[in-house]
Each structure stands twice: as C-alpha cells, then as structure tokens.
Amino acid sequence: MSLPLDSNDLAAIWLTLKLASLTTLVLLLLGTPLAWWLAHTRSRLKGPISAVIALPLVLPPTVLGFYLLVALGPNGPIGALTAQLGLGTLAFSFSGLVIGSVCYSLPFVVQPIQNAFEAIGKRPLEVAATLGASPLDRFFTVALPLARPGIITASVLGFAHTLGEFGVVLMIGGNIAEQTRVVSVQIFNHVEAMDYASAHWLSGGVLVCSFLILLLLNRRGHWRVMPGSGQ
C-alpha cells in the first residue's frame, strides 16, 4: 500500500520541519542570553518580563495570531517598520511564520534554560572567577556545559511545540503552498474538504512524531529534565 500523501502534503511536512528547526535555532540564540539574565538579575523588571514570556502558555493562539496580523499589517508597528526598511509586510511569508512561531514557543525554550542556569547556583561560577576566568569565559566554559540538559530539553520542547502550532500560522499564514501551508493547516484543509482519509494520515503522523519526541526526552534521563530534582 502506498502512502496516500500527495505532493502538497509532502511540501507541508517539509515546510513544517524547516519552520520548527529555524524557530528552535532563533529561540536558542535569543532565549539563552534572556534566560541567563532572568536567572541572575535582581531587576524589578524580572517579574513583568517573566510574565510576558509566559503569556503564550495561557493565551489562546487566536489572540496572538490576531494581534500579530494587526501588528504586521501596513498600519501596525512591525509592518510600518518592515515597509520602511524596504522588506514589505511580513504576513503571508515564511519570515512572518518564523516571527509568529518564535513568539508562540518562547516560554518553552526560555523556561527550561532559566531553570538549568538557576540550578547551577553561584558556586561553580565563583570558583571559576577566583581561578581568573572572565565573565564571558565563565559563561561559555562553565555555565553552558553545566546547563546542557536544560538546553536540550528546551530545544526539543521548542521544536515539538512549533511542529504542532496551528492558531498562529492559520491567522497570519495565508495558506500558500510551499510558503506558509504547514501540516496543521493542511490537516484543517483536509477536514474542511471532508477528505478524512488524508486528515487521518497526516494527523496520525504528527501524533506519533510528537509522542516519540517526548519519549526520547524522557529516556534521556528523567532527572535531567527537571534540573535540581536529582543527581
């Protein structure tokens, strides 16, 4: 029996993997310094900024998608900026999807890394400082290696969460094949078009894939997922 996936389905799968990988990469680059700052700051801004980062955990994706659509439009702040920079507006483009996914998956990456940094404590960094390590040196040779399990957890969660994203990509995507039509939207298309067989194949694939990712995460050692809970 051949796989009943057509070229549009395969394009959607490929696009989704590309989106999840790129989003995870961007989030690691943005999220790691942010998590480091949150783990060490005594600033009064820590509370509000933590709350903003956690917002996507509680907000319906439609709220996020709606405001992104407004912000990315020619009358919105981001849209006005990108138009002025000669980039045009970002809705209906892959870059727009990356921006949306970064917002949506932010807490899934920042929080595990922040937990890992906090679990290291001050001690190893102070020891390294007395041995003459510069702040940058301490970050790259002490903190980052010690926080590795947290960073791996963050990458996997960020990737898996972007994989399953629906509301935001639906709202700002525009359903363009090979550019913005990801798997979750393609599934929605199949259901709406009453093509339940194709919907089953794609949905089943996402289900199995997500399960395997989480299984892998747990098998890496349960104690590592929650920093400080074992050793």
């Binding site: 359903n175 298309n189 009453m194």
Partner: protein
C-alpha cells in the same frame, strides 16, 4: 384575578407568552451570521420559539453533524453539503431549499483603491489578493471562476493568499495585510451601500450562482420550532432581511 396578573408579569419579563414555544438548534454558515441574528430576533418575536445558533464554516459544521452534533436545522454556504447530509440519511428527505443566493464583491479597506475593479485586477497593481479557500469555501470557488472568466488566473495566482473561511479572508483585507480580496457582498454592504472601504460588486455573469441551501436535519424532524424556522426563512420578513444584506432570495 391572579392568573392574568401572572401572565402580564411574565410577558413584561420578556418571557414567551406562547405555551408551545420550543428551542431550535441551528448550524449556520459563517457568511450568514449577521442576517441570521436579525432573522432569529424577528422569528422569536413572531413565534415565541427560541433560536440557538452555532456559526462555523460549512465543512466544519458538516463534520460536527456527521458525528452526532445536536443540530436540528442546517443553513449551509453551498448546495452540495446539504445534499450530502441528505444522502447520508441525516436529514429529512425533500426538506432542502435555497434560502439565499450569495453575491461576490471585490473589496478593499482603502476607500480610494477600487474604482474600476476589473481594471484593477488587470493591471495587477497590488501585492496580495485574498480569496477564501476554493476547495472548502463556495465564495473562494466563485472567486476562482471570476479570475478564469477574466482570463487572469495565471497572472493573479502568485498574488493569492487564502483565508480558511470568508471571515478570515475579510480579516486579511480589513487588517491591510492584503490590499484587496474577494469577500461576500453581505460582509461589506447594507441596503445596497458599501459600509467601509471601496468595493466592486462582481457581475453575476462571471461566476456560478452561490446557492446557499437549508435542510431539516433528522434530529429536528419532530420539533415544531425547527419546521417553523424553515417556513419562516421562506417568508416575507426573512426575505427582506436577507436582501438587505445583499443576498438574492
């Protein structure tokens, strides 16, 4: 002496005076949301029955109906889905009829953009043209027929962005992310006037008529309110509301 007083009190409280009042659960295609709200209000006033409406895309409502949703009447955005519901054995045979004929408009949120819609489409002087998904939304299908009729399919395809429903398509244009788009005339017109932005009412010769059919679902076969609502949709008061929103009747 007490009974008339009680009756008067109940009437004052807005409770239905009719002892025969029933609820009717209706599944309504999203493009018909605004007129349905008006019709429901008039229907409740005139008959004392109560309408409980659920709005969604026709495909989504079909999925719910075929999986046992408790709807009693189905107002679709097309004529094929109600026929399918009937052949599935989920509707009362012979109860189908066209309650409204949809009209298509090319619309922009910019009040100055559209003066000659056809000319604008030909020049292609815009970045994005929004349409509803032609595979799932009848208004999207009609939009592709218009582009075919004008021989512009190849020229416009790279500019197309698709909304999942006509509601999302409207949102793409209203937010300015798409300069213009094909939407339902009922979304942008009242009493023959465009309510905001600019629009071109697409000549009906350029697309197949969008027949929106209603059907009595098996679950509502024995509900007097369900049959009353379907009768009401064929009546004069409903017809006036329907044409006010730019639909044919």
């Amino acid at each position: 002496m007490r009974l008339p007083l009680l009756f008067a009190t109940l009437t004052c409280l807005g409770l239905s005076p009719s002892v025969l009042a029933d609820d009717v659960q209706v599944a309504v295609a999203a493009n018909f949301t605004a007129p349905m709200q008006d019709i429901a209000q008039a229907f409740e006033q005139d008959t004392g029955h109560r309408v409980v409406a659920a709005f969604g895309s026709t495909g989504q409502l079909y999925a719910q109906i075929s999986h046992g949703a408790p709807f009693e009447v189905f107002l679709a955005a097309d004529d094929t889905t109600p026929a399918r519901v009937e052949s599935d054995g989920l509707a009362v045979a012979g109860s189908r009829f066209t309650y409204a004929t949809g009209a298509l408009a090319l619309w922009s949120a910019d009040a100055r953009l559209i003066s000659d819609g056809e000319q604008l489409l030909r020049t292609g002087d815009f970045q994005h043209l929004a349409i509803a998904n032609p595979k799932t939304a009848p208004y999207g299908l009609a939009a592709t027929q218009v582009m075919q009729a004008l021989n512009l399919t190849d020229a416009l395809t790279p500019k197309l962005v698709e909304g999942q429903s006509i509601g999302q398509t409207y949102q793409f244009v209203a937010s300015g992310n798409a300069a213009l788009g094909f939407v339902a005339l009922s979304q942008v017109a009242r009493d023959g006037e465009i309510t905001s932005g600019s629009a071109w009412q697409v000549p009906t010769a350029l697309y197949e008529p969008i027949h929106q059919d209603a059907v009595l679902l098996s679950k509502g076969a024995n509900n007097a309110a369900a049959t009353a609502l379907l009768d009401y949709l064929k009546g004069e008061r409903a017809a006036a509301i329907i044409s006010r929103y730019g639909y044919g009747h």
